[in-house]
Every structure is written in C-alpha cells, then in structure tokens.
Symmetry: none
Subunit: 225 residues, 2 copies
DNA sequence: TCTACTTCTGAGAATCCTCTGAACTTCGCG
DNA sequence: CGCGAAGTTCAGAGGATTCTCAGAAGTAGA
C-alpha cells in the first residue's frame, strides 16, 4: 500500500467565533478535507501564505482586520485558492464588493450547512493545480501530476514509487529516515531494504546527486543541513 | 489565417421571459460581453454546444426542459463554461441540487442587477481554461467546424469523439485526467475504459505523438510539463 | 443500396515500473 | 594503508500498463 501522506485536500477556515468555527471544521472534515483553523486575520494570513489550500472560507467580520482586506492581501501575494466569504452583511452592495474584491463566492449568515458544503464542492471542482511544497530551493512536488519542479524550472516525471519515496522524505525535511522505516512506508510488500537504495539511485539520477543525502550508517535525509 | 484575437468574451443567456432576457442582454452587453440569447432549452443546447462561451446564465425554469437538465446535457458534452443558474426557487435544497448538478453559481429571483453583474465578473475571472485554445504551440481548436489547427499551419478534421476528448483534456491543461473520468465525460454509454486509449491513439495518429502525454498508472494529460 | 466514416471491442506487441542480486566504490576505523 | 561494512550503480526478470491496430457494428450521405 502506498503511503497516505496528506492525500486529502486542504481547506482553511478563518472565523473568530470559535464555536461556529469548530462546527464548520467538523462538518467539512467529514467531507474529506484536511481542515486548518485560524481565529483571526493575522493567523489566517500566516497560514494562507504558508500552506497550499484548495479552498478558504473567510468570515467577513474579523477582529483587527476586515475579511476582505485579508483576502486582498492574499490575492496580492498571488494566492489562488478559491475563497468563499461568509458574512452577516447581506446587502446587495456588500455582496458586490466582496465578489469584486476577489472572492469566488459569498454566503450570508444565517446559512444552511448543506448549502455551504455544496458551494465548497462547486468551488473545489474548479481548482486546477494544487501543489505540495518541497523544501528544496524553489522545487515542489505536484501530487496530481506526480512530477517535480526544480529550481531551474524543469519538471521531471516520477514513477509512483519514486514519488512516494521523495514525498516521504520531504514530509519531514532534515530528519534522517532509516532504511527499514522507508521500506515499510514506501515498499510495504518488499523484503529487502536495498530497494530503498535503488530508488534513491533513481531519484538522484533524475533529479541530481544532491537531492537526497546519505547519513552513513543511519539512512537518508533531505533538505538543507 | 490566425484566429481572431482579443474578441469580446461571449456570454449565453437562456431565459424564456423575453422582456427580462432583453434587459439582461442589454446590461451585460454594456459590461463588454458579446451576448447570445436563447429563449428555450433546445435553442440553448444548440448554441451552448455550438459556440465557445465563457459564461452562461441559465434560467432554472424553462419551457420543455428543466434548466438543470440542460446544464447536465452541456456538462456531459464537456462544455466547461461557467454557469450561473437563475431561479425563482430559493430553497436551500434547490440551491444544493443546482450546485451539485454542475452549476458554478446560483442566484434567486428577484435579484439585484448589480449583484448579477458582479457574480458574472467573479465567474469570468475564474475562467482559466482557454476552451478553444489548445495549450500546444499555436495550435487551437475550432468548435464551429470541429477541427484543429496546428502550429505548422495544417488543419486536421476530428470526429465528434476525438474532438470531445481533446477538448476535455484541453479544458484543464497540465492536469492529469484518469481513464474512468474521461470515459464518463466523453464516452458516456461505453463500458470499457480502453476506449480512451483507442481515442488517444487516434488523436496521436492525427496530431502527432506528443499531443497527449501518458502519466503511467494515472491517466492522460495535455500541455507542457 | 452502396460507400465512407465513426465508434467501440479485444488481443497481441511494446513499453514501463518494480524489485532482485551482484559487481563495484566509498567510508570509517584500527 | 588496509580491511570489512555500508553504499552505489546497474542489468535483467517478471508483472503491470499502455500502444497499436484489425475488424465488427452502427450511422450518415450519395
């Protein structure tokens, strides 16, 4: 079996009402998302810029910073996640402002949870390329296409096993992964630890010698020292 | 001859109330769209399949055929335009149905015209998939004549299925489309996924080996790596 | 009706991926 | 330095996946 590392799409909720936020998180988690919660705009900005989300649900009224202002900051930083604005302000003028500010959808409180979920699904369908960032220069892994972008701009296709191995290593950069550990996670039905060596060889052949580092006697690691 | 560039984006309205339809057409034309009008679902289907629209505004209640049924037929034919459903039915359940049927947005009558225009702008901003431009050199797809122009100037006629397959792939360049997914979208009444392979073969035979790329174990994709 | 084209099936050939094993190189320590 | 342990490189077997294509069945037009 392949490793199950963050396969679920990620979704961010920015909502100061902790009770509502928790409820939404529970519902959306049931839909199959990996949900992150931010309780204020500052935290939302930090998370929104730091991780790759497919969808964000942002409350319009937040302590400190307006939801639309947050959205503006994210959009200016080239964040392309689909954004649904949640608000108590239901006037037409307000909704128009929200949509023109870069929101993809707009929902007025009180709202029906099923409708929120349907709208999230609708937004998600439109999401094209999601990427997982590899902590290596500007390189990143694309789990849909199963390829790697390197700092120099080239993209390299990987096989399933190659990708799984790289992903497992990238999941905990800096950490040393032992051979038995990697074999168990990436090559579950395989007897010998030496498969790991072989696939490290394949990765280095495709991506450059220094993509994976050897820690003599312990295993392999990835990322800066 | 190169395709006309920088034309006004095309938008389709399917609305049986001729007075409302004319009013909407006027407003949306002022926004910079080239507007087509259909007064029933039959005409809407014909236009929707025949021309490349960026956005469609479809009334939920139409004589003869339900708006959602029309939407379903369009989606099954790989029409990827953004669709906004317009309706008198405002219940939550109805909205959920609409969104799950493939709509991108949903607006309840009576509505504010400014809000409709803002929603259309929001949908339009998200129109990333150049439906009739193939992301391959200068090649492009012509929906009206169902043929492809290649960079070297040659034009190649495609069959309906070939065209649908290519268009579905081109709708989301770079993304990997699985065989079951493609079979469902392009070959709705066909049992075996292997039709997809066969048609990929046909496309490659007509358009060159590298027009469609294989991602081993996952499916097919189009466009630059 | 005849002809040409399209659509779909199935099956062998070709290719790709995975893993093993073995020769070869590097490392660390005495 | 020299030796054994650890790591690297790579060829090739075997299985899975994909490619290619011939032909049957259906459709449209002359």
């Amino acid at each position: 079996m392949a490793p199950e590392i963050a396969k679920r799409p990620r979704l961010l909720i920015v909502e100061d009402d902790t009770e509502l936020a928790a409820l939404l998180a529970a519902l959306i988690t049931d839909e199959g998302y990996e949900v992150d919660l931010a309780h204020d705009a500052q935290q939302g900005l930090h998370l929104g810029l730091g991780r790759a989300y497919r969808v964000m649900v942002i409350d319009r009224r937040l302590p400190g910073m307006d939801g639309l202002e947050l959205l503006g900051k994210l959009r200016r930083r080239a964040v392309t996640a689909r954004v649904l604005i949640l608000t108590a302000l239901g006037s037409h003028a307000e909704r128009v402002r929200g949509l023109d500010a870069g929101a993809d959808d707009y929902l007025t409180k009180p709202f029906d949870f099923d409708e929120l979920l349907a709208r999230i699904r609708a937004l998600d369908r439109r999401f094209g390329d999601q990427v997982d960032l590899l902590p290596l220069g500007e390189g990143f892994l694309d789990r849909d296409t199963r390829d790697v972008s390197l700092p120099n701009g080239t993209r390299v296709q990987l096989s399933q096993r190659e990708f799984d191995l790289l992903r497992t290593l990238a999941a905990r950069p800096r950490a040393v992964h032992s051979r038995p550990q990697l074999r168990a996670q990436v090559f579950p039905d395989t007897a010998a630890d030496s498969v790991v060596d072989t696939y490290v060889y394949y990765l280095r052949r495709k991506l450059g010698r220094q993509i994976v580092q050897t820690v003599y006697g312990l295993g392999y690691r990835i990322g800066p020292l």
